[in-house]
Symmetry: D2
Subunit: 173 residues, 4 copies
């Protein structure tokens, strides 16, 4: 359980992914996610069990006071944590979000959102992750949400069109 | 605690709202929510402590397989539960989502999403709510997510432009 | 998803359990639970997908002000919801709590605690449940906590000593 | 939001508590908690925004297979996270658990449980915390649960008998 205490994106001591091509697999799945590109989100870091996603501000992701909308904050947190878990799964697996809990701790005000997800406990079937979501204003990060998430690994269902199921979808296998 | 067992939207035995104009207040706040109209969501029922929101399918709220996106499911659940809580708050109050937990239990496949939120425990400062989100396909509802949420009431900050804070924003007063 | 709207313990329209002896199986597992008998809890109702547990007040389950301790409230909620899920699982299966979220909404003051769990969404692998926990004072029930829970079904591991795994234990298969 | 990335119990860069006597205040409240002493729990570290609690194994806290019971795991996690939050609150304040979410990720098997709570976001009214709970076997720690928690600060109600309210109690002010 060494990785339980890792700071985000640190790779020293991180788990060894079963799929050596995990980074390409995560990037490919992210690229196929219509919702992420629709929002304008970019995958900015991928490490074993840790993923960072950034989302620049624009009016489509704002609420009326000019902050990032809470639903958008949850969505990129869900994706960052979900892809962190997916990075440690087998090459032929797909992943679904089982559930998450999110605390919204400050208004998401700034030029950019940064979501950092990491795996707390990988498992053959279930993986537990956390994410922190920060708003970046003038280069300064302010924590605006924290998330704790459960993922399920679906082996033998590679995450690709047309049959794949991906993060952001859900089910109850 | 009578309302803890009320089925959604039943008004018999429901709590008496402190603001007799609660329905107009909820509708007004919903109308000012850019995000809800941006998604195409409609407020279809308002009762004391219970709110229903419907969202027709369109490509902007879908993921690549043609289902409603998980982030959209969470967003309308958050709003339905949040407005259910808001309906019981004083006329001069604003409301923020403190946190929620959501289980995604089936793919959100259909022509429409319906989110039904209701108050489990109202309080002067904190209110606890739940929401069920259904996908409607050929008129048949399938449960796709369940949510349990905590709200905070901010008295003396009426929910209107330009100073108001609304559901979908967040903070940690 | 008909059962998503069932009131607790109502059997009309409830799911048909795959194991016709579900009630005996639930009772047997409950009886083997050292923790439940240690607390003095009793299994008072078992229906398909719905279970009620009652716990009389005594000093061992109290905190210093004479209320039921929050950990005890969570424990019987976890058990009631867990056994509700277990009632719908195959005869040879075991069950583990994956996670839960609990809101503590009022002091648990009274002569008895009543926890009512019910299944919101059964599944082959994962089951989602909710529980309401009430304190009973002079015969009047006051809601003191609400819980939303995820269970995992472990087929082929019947819940009996010495090999079985039971509710209240946990793991990450 | 510096503390959002602090490793547990590190004090460098940690928030400055408003009450310089925070450690004595936390210890005093812990000592008055009947439930903690009943379980045999010890408060082993107190830093600003970070608390550690240890619980040696004994039959009273076990389930039938000789592991720590899930309810006990949740209880000491709730306390460690709650006291972490309480350490940053004003001297005359009391604290209540609003809600928490816990993932049980491995059987709690060992000679001791260690719960480490820390503050993710302090606030005047609400504080968000996390806790990790480990089972210690032959000196080796295994993560068995992770928790994300919301606390409410009740100013002007010092946590002492007979009027005080403490962690483990709950309410909905």
């Amino acid at each position: 359980m060494r990785n339980a205490r890792l700071p985000p994106l640190e790779t020293n001591g991180a788990p060894v992914p079963s799929d050596p091509d995990f980074a390409a697999r995560v990037s490919g799945s992210f690229a196929r996610q219509g919702a992420m590109s629709h929002l304008g989100a970019r995958l900015t870091k991928v490490a074993p069990g840790a993923v960072e996603i950034r989302l620049p501000y624009r009016s489509e992701v704002a609420q009326q006071h000019g902050f990032f909308h809470g639903g958008v904050v949850a969505t990129i947190g869900d994706s960052a944590a979900g892809y962190a878990g997916y990075s440690l799964m087998p090459a032929d697996a797909s992943v679904l979000t089982v559930e998450y809990k999110i605390n919204l701790v400050a208004p998401a005000k700034g030029q950019e959102l940064v979501a950092r997800g990491r795996v707390v406990k990988p498992g053959r079937t279930l993986t537990v992750t956390v994410a922190e979501i920060f708003a970046v204003e003038q280069g300064r990060e302010t924590l605006c949400a924290v998330m704790q998430q459960t993922l399920i690994c679906l082996p033998g269902r590679a995450d690709g069109p047309p049959s794949g199921q991906v993060i952001g979808e859900s089910g109850n296998p």
